[in-house]
């Protein structure tokens, strides 16, 4: 009996923790789960916006719906990778085949060049692996192991996939951030009450808080810094894009077609610093090749409109300001409506 206790006690503690996590609700709005809940409330999904947190910031799906009379959903989120979006769409099309029939998948394409990440690249952002894990099948693991991703990351995904049924395991990052920020706030309140410390700058900046975007001054400065360094880093090792056939975009085209829908690109305005990496000779040639091979041959369509904003409309250099969201979404909606009047 005593030996049995050594098995029962850990299981009981684990179950209590699991229940607590489910109860606290850190996981309720998580990416695919949020979309899935939404799908239960609509008859049909006509348009889905996919991409990074730039999409989350710039597109207001309510405005789009009003302007076009369609039903749309913005699944743009940061930090995520296009591979995760591919698997999310595959899961969505499989679970809701009728509701997604003929869907238009709108993908951001700054300077008319979509993400050129391919299947050998990183499939998930280190900060949020659960975006991928929640939408991945066990069968996909073999493809994952064929990629050039670090072995440790492949093992992490495999391990987390095995425990996908547990909220405690699969939403680790959200739980960690939730618990620590609650405790930090409590600590801060207590100290401020006795006159110790200064309140951490929490002034809200003109940004939308969707898709993992930080709107506090500290977060905004952090993103600014990150944007500058990451653009510089990417520019130093910029190479021509080869093998478009192995890109995720190429797979997305096929996937969308298989579900009776199509992939459509739309221009995403960028700050000057971000735009730099798209204006090099290498990217210019890539763009030309992409246009000749994909756009001019109608393999993929693109909304044609002009939308650019001055740098002051990118408070963190990465995301479009909240105040320009309606304006930009209206431009996108009008362009979409022009291309698909029915």
């Amino acid at each position: 009996m005593r030996k049995l206790l050594f098995v029962i006690i850990p299981i009981v503690i684990f179950l209590v923790a699991e229940l607590a996590v489910r109860q606290w609700g850190y996981t309720k709005t998580s990416w695919y789960r949020g979309l899935s809940s939404h799908m239960k409330t609509v008859e049909k999904l006509d348009v889905i916006f996919i991409g990074s947190s730039r999409v989350a910031a710039a597109i207001d799906s309510n405005v789009f719906d009003i302007k076009t009379g369609l039903t749309s959903y913005n699944i743009g989120v940061g930090p995520s990778k296009l591979q995760s979006h591919y698997f999310l769409l595959r899961k969505l099309f499989k679970e809701y085949p009728t509701k997604t029939k003929g869907i238009k998948v709108l993908l951001e394409a700054p300077y008319m060049l979509p993400s050129f990440t391919n299947w050998s690249d990183q499939w998930f952002a280190d900060e949020q692996p659960q975006y991928l894990i929640n939408v991945l099948n066990f069968a996909d693991l073999s493809k994952l192991f064929q990629s050039d991703i670090d072995l440790e990351k492949k093992l992490l995904v495999t391990f987390r996939k095995l425990f996908d049924w547990s909220y405690l395991f699969s939403y680790r990052e959200r739980i960690r951030n939730g618990v620590l920020s609650k405790m930090k706030n409590l600590f801060q309140r207590s100290l401020l009450q006795i006159g110790i410390g200064k309140k951490q700058e929490s002034k809200q900046v003109d940004l939308v808080s969707a898709g993992g975007i930080r709107t506090d001054a500290i977060g905004v400065n952090l993103i600014k810094e990150r944007t500058i360094t990451s653009v510089a880093k990417r520019m130093t090792k910029q190479k021509p894009i080869k093998d478009w056939g192995n890109t995720v975009v190429s797979s997305l085209i096929t996937l969308s077609k298989e579900s009776g829908g199509e992939l459509i690109l739309f221009n995403m305005p960028l700050s000057t610093i971000q735009g730099k990496e798209y204006q090099t000779e290498i990217r210019h040639n890539d763009r030309e090749f992409f246009q000749e091979t994909y756009l001019q041959t109608d393999i993929i369509k693109a909304l044609t409109f002009r939308a650019s904003y001055p740098d002051k409309e990118f408070p963190d250099l990465l995301h479009l300001a909240k105040s320009k969201r309606v304006d930009y979404t209206t431009i996108v909606s009008n362009s979409f409506f022009k291309m698909f009047p029915n």
Partner: protein, 471 residues
């Protein structure tokens, strides 16, 4: 391959699976091969170094033992030490010496046309295994041990993977008999092993890696933190490096326990030390005892009067500092600790060896004072430059106000270092292996389960390398 990785978990389970199903001699072969695979995962080219080091010391120690004249024995020992220090010198210090020489030439206005520069990568753990092999040869020369006749067993002594890259630096008289003789397994070994692995992982992944975020932010070049933030950064680093290094040592001991080996204790709650001498009896014990036995005592130790004792202390600690890395900050850090030991000895003499004090206000004041002196040393150790260390000091004394506290950094320090303290206090209880025996088994298993949940949830998304891998 890091201990806190999925890859290591699979690797270790695989090794254990084979290990428990074969006999003693084959177990040693399995462990040796596993050790080379483990080491080769960093860079396969490093394997040639460890193979060379193993061969040279094995061969020379046998020759030393067989040598009939003391002169010849000394000559061979010199050769062994020259080889080991040569390896270390070339791979670890060559770049530093060249840079320093170039700087000196520039300072003197001499045109340095050679301007030699080599891009040498530092092999992981080289400082640890060269010190381990050196201690073996020296012990053979001193006739403290007889050399081992089995090359394979000796190779395992040098390369034993749990302690290969960051210690503890094991002595031959402790580890070799465990390799040569048949190992006996007890259920208590498995319990202690699992406990040490769990606790070590917690210290590394939860405490050290989370504090690293605070430390890196404050010590980042170009940032000018206020005095309180500087203090938070220094204290956070004190607990980060402790969690990191003692965590590694605990995991190494735990893994060894699971394989039937007992490695030496490397840390004994060092921040409870009441003076610098006691600190060095509790911090990185395998290195400090190595320096004492093979450097401080041969120099004369404390037998030759006060002045020479002080000299010996300074030399030992400066070399201890250099052992950590090829940079002026490590040399200054070693010198600082040498001076601390010297001043303490001058003022209070040698300290009593009562390991665990009864707590009272006087002892408390001694502990806090010592901790702060140690932390000043950590500032030198961690600062990116001497200028940054000076800037931090200036800020602490001129720009500190309670109203300016960065609450989130303070929270991380109190929360993670506090957890470490409380748990260390609860479980360490003088002998960390028996610590869980103080509690009812049900309570102990609950505690370990919570530790594992804590490790999984509280680990930051991006783990950090173990700090001591760079040494």
């Amino acid at each position: 391959m890091l201990f806190n990785s999925y890859l290591f978990l699979i690797f270790f389970l695989l090794i254990v699976g084979i290990y428990i199903n074969v006999k003693h001699r084959s177990q040693n072969i399995v462990l040796l091969l596993a050790s080379y695979v483990f080491y080769g995962t960093w860079d396969w080219r490093f394997l040639f170094l460890i193979l060379a080091s193993t061969f040279v010391d094995y061969y020379l120690s046998l020759k030393i033992y067989q040598s009939k004249s003391q002169k010849n024995s000394k000559r061979l020992l010199f050769l062994s030490i020259f080889f080991n220090l040569g390896l270390l010198g070339f791979f670890k210090y060559f770049g530093f010496f060249i840079d320093s020489a170039n700087q000196l030439f520039n300072l003197l206005g001499v045109e340095n046309t050679a301007n030699l520069r080599l891009n040498i990568i530092l092999p992981v753990g080289i400082s640890f295994y060269t010190f381990q092999t050196m201690s073996y040869t020296i012990d053979v020369a001193r006739k403290k041990i007889t050399p081992i006749r089995n090359y394979l067993d000796y190779s395992l002594y040098v390369a034993f993977f749990p302690q290969l890259v960051a210690g503890p630096i094991e002595r031959a008289k402790n580890l070799i008999p465990q390799i040569v003789n048949k190992r006996h397994y007890k259920i208590s070994n498995i319990r202690s092993g699992l406990w040490l692995v769990s606790w070590g992982l917690f210290k590394k992944v939860v405490v050290a890696d989370n504090l690293a975020i605070v430390v890196d932010k404050i010590f980042r070049t170009g940032v000018e933190p206020d005095g309180i933030s500087c203090l938070i950064g220094i204290y956070a680093f004190a607990f980060q490096i402790y969690g990191d290094f003692s965590g590694y040592s605990d995991i190494a001991r735990g893994i060894s326990k699971l394989l039937g080996f007992n490695l030496m204790v490397n840390f004994k709650i060092p921040y409870l030390s009441r003076n610098p001498q006691e600190f060095w009896n509790r911090w990185h014990i395998s290195l400090s005892s190595w320096l004492k036995d093979y450097l401080y005592i041969p120099l004369g130790g404390s037998r030759l009067g006060n002045i020479l004792t002080y000299r010996n202390l300074i030399i030992t600690m400066v070399l201890g500092g250099i052992w950590h890395g090829a940079a002026w900050s490590f040399i200054i850090w070693g010198l600082y600790h040498g001076l601390l030991l010297m001043i303490h000895r001058f003022m209070f003499g040698s300290y009593s060896k009562k390991e665990y004090p009864r707590f009272n206000i006087i002892e408390g004041i001694k502990i806090i004072t010592t901790f702060n002196f140690i932390c000043f040393g950590w500032l030198i150790f961690r600062a990116n430059s001497v200028e940054q260390a000076m800037f931090f000091l200036k800020q602490i004394f001129t720009s500190s106000s309670l109203a300016q506290i960065q609450i989130h950094s303070l929270f991380s320090l109190i929360f993670f270092a506090g957890m470490l303290w409380i748990l260390e206090f609860l479980v360490q209880n003088r002998d960390d292996l028996k610590s869980l025996n103080y509690y009812r088994p049900e309570l102990a298993i609950s505690f370990i389960t919570c530790i594992w949940i804590g490790i999984y949830i509280l680990a930051p998304s991006q783990g950090q390398n173990f700090i001591y891998f760079q040494f």
